[in-house]
Symmetry: C2
Subunit: 341 residues, 2 copies
């Protein structure tokens, strides 16, 4: 019922001025140690908490970070936990908004967070976004922006991501080493950077092993289980069907798996499959699905750290680009050869 105590209350009770109380409560220079003690004691007793709104208004800083993510699936929610961890430690509060992979929603979220006067943004872009003007508006206001996971070349900002090309490469090379010859790739929307990088890795692996790229084996489809299912059915209906599939996400791998099963094909004998993200579900299905693992939690932490650095350095900071390494987790869906010792 009772209102939270303010500096004014303390001042009145001790019969001293606001300014003195204010000074006593923080840097404490220029104030008698007795009065300081008295102020401290009373503020303890009244359970005084400085009013964040007043503070923020005064010093034009809210100590709040706006985080925009396309969704909160397994991987992203881990990353957000990482961001949270570091941000809280550094005295920041985090406001998370989901764009639901929608461009319009992303703009809306940006606007709302700007209205909330966040001190900056940590962003993973939606798969639908082709324009990035709304993010550039943030930068025009001179607010720090860090992009993570889903980065895009169209936005000039410090970034944290995994080495997607490397991920695509090790996945594909693994399939090649297992003896698969016609390896297809199920990619995401064409404008999605991560998808393209993973595909580049795929192409590099083919090149390294002198396998000719076959455009028919490269399929773009929505970042989503159902689309992957139908896309895979089409792949399998080809005259010379692929004998392995690399999907750039586990969602899509699941869709592919269902299609492969539907066709009565066996993994890894008839067809190999490797996904991306190493979601827990990949180890639970039958057959278990090989997948490229990434350090999601660490990535989130790195993003928050980079944000805080950027915030402090602002101008003179070179556009740092932090890249973490993925690693391949081999499971039944692609383990054709016996394990070498």
């Amino acid at each position: 019922m009772e209102k939270p105590a303010t500096i004014k209350d303390i001042a009145k009770r001790l019969n001293i001025s606001l300014s003195t109380v204010s000074r006593a409560l923080r840097n404490a220079s220029d104030v008698n140690s007795d009065t300081k003690k008295a102020v401290m004691a009373l503020s303890e007793e009244l359970n005084y908490q400085p009013n964040k709104l007043a503070l923020s208004l005064r010093q034009k800083q809210t100590h709040t970070i706006g985080v925009i993510v396309p969704n909160l699936d397994y991987v992203l929610s881990l990353m957000v936990r990482g961001i949270d961890e570091v941000a809280l430690e550094a005295g920041f509060t985090v406001m998370v908004c989901q764009s639901n992979e929608s461009f319009g929603r992303e703009i809306l979220n940006t606007r709302r967070l700007l209205e909330s006067l966040v001190d900056g943004f940590i962003i993973s872009v939606s798969s639908e976004s082709k324009s990035f003007e709304h993010f550039k508006k943030i930068q025009e206001r001179n607010l720090p922006v860090v992009v993570f996971d889903r980065v895009t070349p169209h936005l000039t900002a410090p970034s944290v991501r995994i080495d997607n090309e490397e991920g695509g490469f090790i996945a594909t090379e693994h399939l090649i080493e297992q003896g698969y010859k016609r390896i297809a790739v199920l990619a995401g929307p064409e404008n999605l950077g991560v998808s393209n990088s993973r595909m580049d890795g795929y192409l590099n692996a083919l090149k390294k092993h002198k396998i000719k790229k076959d455009p028919a084996l490269i399929v773009h489809c929505d970042f989503n289980q159902d689309y992957a299912y139908f896309a895979t059915l089409e792949l399998l209906a080809m005259k010379k069907r692929p004998d392995a599939i690399f999907t750039i996400s586990d969602r899509m791998a699941i869709g592919a798996m269902l299609a492969i099963k539907k066709k009565g094909l066996r993994m890894p004998e008839d067809i190999g499959l490797v996904g991306f993200n190493n979601e827990p579900v990949t180890s639970l299905v039958t057959p278990s699905i090989s997948s490229v693992d990434m350090p999601s939690f660490e990535l989130g932490k790195a993003a928050a750290k980079l944000f805080i650095e950027t915030m402090h350095n602002k101008e003179n900071m070179d556009l740092e680009e932090k890249v973490l390494k993925p690693k391949l987790i081999i499971r039944e869906s692609s383990q054709k050869l016996p394990i070498r010792k």
Copy 2:
């Protein structure tokens, strides 16, 4: 680079007073339509946005809701989306904190959100929490609190949840109807309300069908896949082992499934299994797992709606308790009899 425009800027440019601008911008009563037009035009031109901090400070309302959840798994993140949806619509911003099922973290989150001067809370309690003093402190400050999903009798507040007892009941009765005789239940921690309610439903179903409750078949374990795995192994090692298991979450159902497979038993022939939550993974594993589905998104929306009502009515609002109905999704793990037409 340029600072956002303020009311003062507009006033200066139009050579009128702050108050007039302020009035022109909102209720617009008591102000000449010409000056109103001028103000509107200029505010448009300067892209004026009212400063939320100043507003909040003045009217002692931040239009922000603090949401505390134990984690952001599939179900909860759906619920949070539901909360978001409704809250945004009503002009509220949502701050989500994860307690990671930790009591200490929950207290910390509560404190931080209070410091952020949120207007109220929407809470799903952590499985570890046995004391609720930190939440009561919120209520002492006269802030509205709504609990959802994981409710607890120890906290007097309006709530939204599904009918967990009903959920436990339909799951168990389904197993009985499929001909299973010795049905075990894998419950969560003893202080977790949802777990106990689901167990009550289980007991009710047994009673209705005149099956004697066997304490050996009631196992409490941590809300987690690994514990469920080991608990199930123990159950299966009994002399008179159960021929069906109802787990109060899908996580646990997965653990149970792995244990059952490990033992070389078949589902549904040797043993039946039903989980709770209807996470997507239940339909992907082999055999697919029957599960009690709940309207998570709807539940989140209902929680936010209830919060907003509570906020407006504050005092005289009876402690509303909204209960949504679950429904059983039958899959391979428990479908012993042929489907009846």
